[in-house]
């Protein structure tokens, strides 16, 4: 064996042993002597002001140290910009306990801090509040009459594309026309780990264990709000129990725990109660209208996509909702519009593939409707309109193996056996339906730094400030470093999500593998240069004139590829250097030139089978095949899990997940995990994931496009289309619960 091959091979998670033994430590798993426990009290109204706060009884409970409210909180930063973070939208970020105003239901209104958790929880129930309630608006259908184009764009979010051709005219002239509105309910992230912060206070210096997708984002935010030097604040969050976007922006738990620790000069732990999460983070309810004009053969003449998405009254949260069909399909005339409407809720948060599953549910459902109207195969319709270039931006794609994805997924699914008529497949009292849809997500890269420390004994440590939220980042970074340096995988230890590590953007957007992976590769290559230089310098070196192209790093040695008997051990290189270890840090920056010239997206073809109980309206997803074209696959094992997870998220979006508001009170009626339904094991069938071969040298130097989000996009549409095929009923609102499926 000449080299240790790790990249592209299925490897078990390197953090697996820690996770299956309970030794992986999450934010709430840290303790120290004298640790205090904090519990949040929420406001009893959705909008208005707190007229009177009664904390005396709570403070009288033995063991309670203090009840913090807007009346006694310590002074913090005043300017909005001090409260902004790496990824937040334009506006005025919510400030916990800032004043007497209540902006949304479940808003934190007080923080009880006590010696024991149970004491804090008990005392929290004794905090009294008198409120002056105002009428809240939580109904998007009403609020959307005042929808507006966001005046300030959110950084990093592509605005709707410019219109092309004359969409209105082309639509009016089109022989086949379709215009429908689709709706997607509010969803909640519900990562299994609650949002939690443990602050270890020592002589005014803080070590913070925060549930975050970016330790440095949390550190910057804390320093900015509390006016602390970075040297006094370190955020250490090696394990994150899922986040799906909810840990991108620093959360109220971080502010509250730090505030309490600084005020009381004690260590403090705060774990948000599950119910409270429903007030603080959600995917916005969105209505999407799609208009399609086509020839009788199915060639698209026009596409129109308009969306109205919910946001809060204080920030303009924006997502990429309407852009996708104009990008995926070759159409001359297109128009796009994206608006926001304000509700009395917290600002929405990015949630797994923000925007894309909403716009794509609408567009891919509309295409299915068009296929049925014309009477052609839904996959044929997509192939007929396949775009070979990005017409939204007038650029070529870095790669797009979507045709191959359709083909391989259709073959595996057995799509050619589909009988096209709705209600034409059944078994007993179950109607069977087959549907398909396309998925797409932007392949992004961001600036990230990493370091590798290599020791003379052939072990290495990789460090990067970004996070592994279950995505497999620990494993793939170890694979890249081990392969480059010719080391066994266990010799590499990867360390992540510590504010003291090389600077990295938050983990998100499916950009981490491409960005952090490239930074690690740069580090390894820089180390190899140093080592080869040392090897050449050794007296009578067998590699005296060898160039990097002529050697391989393997088995802890540098060997001449054409004659492996010429070799120098890494240990000898270190001796020559007179060092026990070398550390290098490198920064990967997005290739701006290729970004200007090319569009880069990951694609997927999703096929789903449903069985619908004709009498009960119960829908079961019984089969999903998802073929993904996303560049190079670093680790097929963890990659499969990423797509599988996306598909399960999509099943939840299609069938289960719905925040149900009481518009009179402005509150969620189902703010817990029993009444907000998530997919459980019995809801999830065998899911087949296929990675289509796709070479992409332009998106990132390591050929990677990212996998965290593509798995969800298209899944709900494929299921909706399958339900239509099974029942003949077109459902345009998610989730497709049985009350909608049952015949009226």
């Amino acid at each position: 064996m000449l080299t240790e091959r790790h990249v592209g091979r299925p490897r078990s998670r390197v953090d697996g042993p820690l996770k299956v033994t309970g030794r992986a430590k999450y934010a709430a798993d840290y303790a120290t002597n004298g640790l205090l426990h904090a519990v949040v009290v929420t406001a009893p109204i959705a909008k208005g002001r707190i007229a009177r706060m009664d904390t005396a009884r709570a403070e009288a409970v033995p063991g309670v140290l203090r009840v913090f409210t807007h009346e006694n909180r310590p002074r913090t930063a005043w300017f909005d910009r001090s409260w902004q973070d790496q990824v937040g939208p334009p506006g005025s970020p919510f400030r916990p306990l800032y004043d007497d105003r209540v902006h949304f239901a479940l808003q934190p209104a007080a923080l009880v801090v006590a010696e024991e958790f149970e004491v804090a929880r008990h005392a929290a129930g004794l905090v009294g509040m008198e409120c002056e309630a105002e009428t809240p608006e939580t109904d998007l259908k009403r609020a959307m009459t005042e929808a507006y184009v966001p005046p300030k764009r959110r950084s990093g979010i592509a605005p709707p594309p410019k219109p092309r051709g004359d969409e209105a005219k082309a639509f009016a002239a089109a022989p086949v026309r379709l215009r429908e509105q689709y709706g997607i309910a509010t969803e909640f992230h519900n990562a299994m780990e609650p949002h939690a912060t443990t602050v270890i206070w020592k002589d005014g210096e803080l070590i913070i264990h925060d549930k975050t997708q970016g330790a440095q984002n949390s550190q910057d935010w804390v320093c900015s709000i509390f006016g602390l030097a970075k040297s006094k604040v370190r955020v250490v969050s090696p394990f994150v129990g899922g986040a799906f976007g909810s840990g991108l922006r620093p959360g109220p738990q971080l502010f509250l725990a730090v505030m309490a620790a600084l005020s009381l000069e004690r260590s403090v732990k705060l774990v948000l109660h599950r119910d409270h999460h429903f007030g603080l983070m959600h995917r916005p309810e969105t209505f999407v209208t799609v208009g399609l004009g086509a020839t009788p053969e199915g060639k698209l003449c026009s596409v129109q996509v308009e969306a109205v998405a919910a946001t809060s009254r204080f920030e303009d949260h924006q997502e990429v909702v309407v852009n996708w069909p104009g990008l995926l399909y070759d159409v001359e005339n297109a128009a796009f519009d994206y608006r926001l409407a304000q509700l009395d809720t917290h600002t929405p948060s990015d949630m797994r593939a923000p925007g894309a599953p909403l716009g794509m549910f609408a567009a891919e459902s509309a295409l299915d409707e068009l296929a049925a109207k014309i009477g052609i195969c839904p996959m044929e319709l997509r192939l007929l309109n396949h775009a070979d270039e990005d017409r939204n931006d007038g650029k070529n794609f870095t790669s797009k193996e979507l045709r191959a994805a359709y083909q391989v997924a259709a073959d595996r699914f057995g799509w050619r056996h589909r009988s096209p008529e709705p209600r034409s497949m059944r078994e007993g009292q179950e109607l069977i339906g087959w549907g398909m849809a396309t998925g797409v997500w932007e392949a992004q890269t961001v600036k990230m730094s990493a370091s590798i420390l290599l020791r003379a004994d052939g072990t290495a440590e990789v460090r990067c400030g970004t996070a592994d939220i279950g995505t497999g980042t620990y494993t793939i970074l170890s694979q890249i470093a081990a392969e480059e340096l010719g080391l066994p995988l266990p010799a590499v230890n990867t360390l992540l999500n510590d504010s003291a590590y090389p600077a990295a953007q938050v983990e998100g957007g499916s950009w981490t593998a491409a960005s952090a992976g490239t930074a690690v590769q740069l580090c390894a290559r820089s180390l190899k240069e140093k080592l080869l230089k040392a090897a050449r310098g050794i007296t009578n070196s067998p590699l005296a004139s060898a160039t990097m192209e002529e050697v391989r790093f393997t088995g802890g040695r540098i060997v001449l590829a054409r004659d492996p008997s010429h070799a120098v051990t890494l240990a000898a290189c270190f001796r020559e250097l007179g060092e026990e270890k070398i550390e290098v840090e490198e920064t990967a920056t997005p290739g701006l030139l290729s970004k200007m010239r090319y569009s880069s997206y990951a694609h997927a073809a999703v096929f789903a089978e449903v069985r619908v109980d004709e009498e009960l309206g119960q829908v079961r997803v019984t089969r999903v095949v998802n073929a993904v074209a996303a560049g190079r696959i670093l680790n097929p094992k963890t990659a499969r899990s990423q797509i599988l997870g996306g598909v399960v998220f999509g099943i939840g979006q299609a069938l289960h997940e719905e925040g149900i508001p009481d518009h009179a009170l402005g509150r969620w009626m189902n703010h817990n995990m029993a009444e907000y339904h998530l997919p459980v094991n019995a809801d999830v069938p065998a899911v087949e994931v296929i990675f289509v071969e796709e070479r992409d040298a332009l998106t990132s130097p390591i050929g990677v496009k990212g996998l965290g989000e593509i798995g969800i996009v298209g899944t709900a549409a494929a299921i909706a289309n399958a339900i239509h095929h099974a029942t003949g009923k077109r459902l345009r609102g998610l989730p497709m619960t049985l009350d909608k499926v049952l015949p009226r």
Partner: protein, 169 residues
């Protein structure tokens, strides 16, 4: 632990502590707790066994599943004081005395039956107990009987594969 000083009103009193003896992962403990302490908070805050996770604290997610006197339970729904003399097995007690992983732990790694790892201790305890219950005969049966343990990362098919492999031995 602060003293329960005579209260001005009953709500302000802390319930008096009691001593609870129980066995956790083979080790005997005698701890002073208040009657409102759940088994979950006892394990995590008092015994520092933080492998058992708190996901919802109200019996809806299964993250805190432990094996109590041979049966899997949501530790957040058990008041510790109601189970004196009980035997508790948590994720920290699944490994063999030689430190070797339990076959289900090894199968979870092999099948990539987790991503973030947060629900994993509960899934493992639930899976170990399930195999003991004899409810792991088919993939369908496993799916049904493992549906009290939510995995938001969506590793369900891999969890089923891992349990099937171990149950079939």
């Amino acid at each position: 632990m602060p003293d329960a000083t005579p209260p001005a009103e009953p709500a302000l009193a802390l319930p008096p502590p009691l001593t609870l003896a129980l066995t956790v992962n083979g080790a005997r403990h005698a701890v002073e707790i208040r009657p409102w302490t759940t088994l979950l908070d006892l394990l995590r805050d008092r015994l520092h066994l933080t492998g058992t996770k708190k996901g919802c604290d109200q019996g809806q997610c299964g993250a805190c599943t432990v094996i109590l006197d041979g049966k899997r339970v949501n530790a957040c729904l058990v008041l510790a004081a109601t189970r004196p003399g009980s035997e508790v097995r948590t994720v920290e007690g699944l490994e063999g005395p030689d430190g070797a992983l339990h076959p289900l732990q090894a199968a979870f790694i092999e099948h990539d039956a987790f991503q973030c790892g947060y629900c994993t201790p509960g899934q493992l305890c639930s899976g170990v107990a399930l195999i003991g219950e004899g409810h792991a005969g088919s993939a369908e049966e496993i799916r049904e009987w493992m549906s009290g343990n939510i995995c938001r990362c969506g590793a369900y098919p891999h969890i089923v594969e891992a349990i099937r492999e171990v149950a079939g031995r």
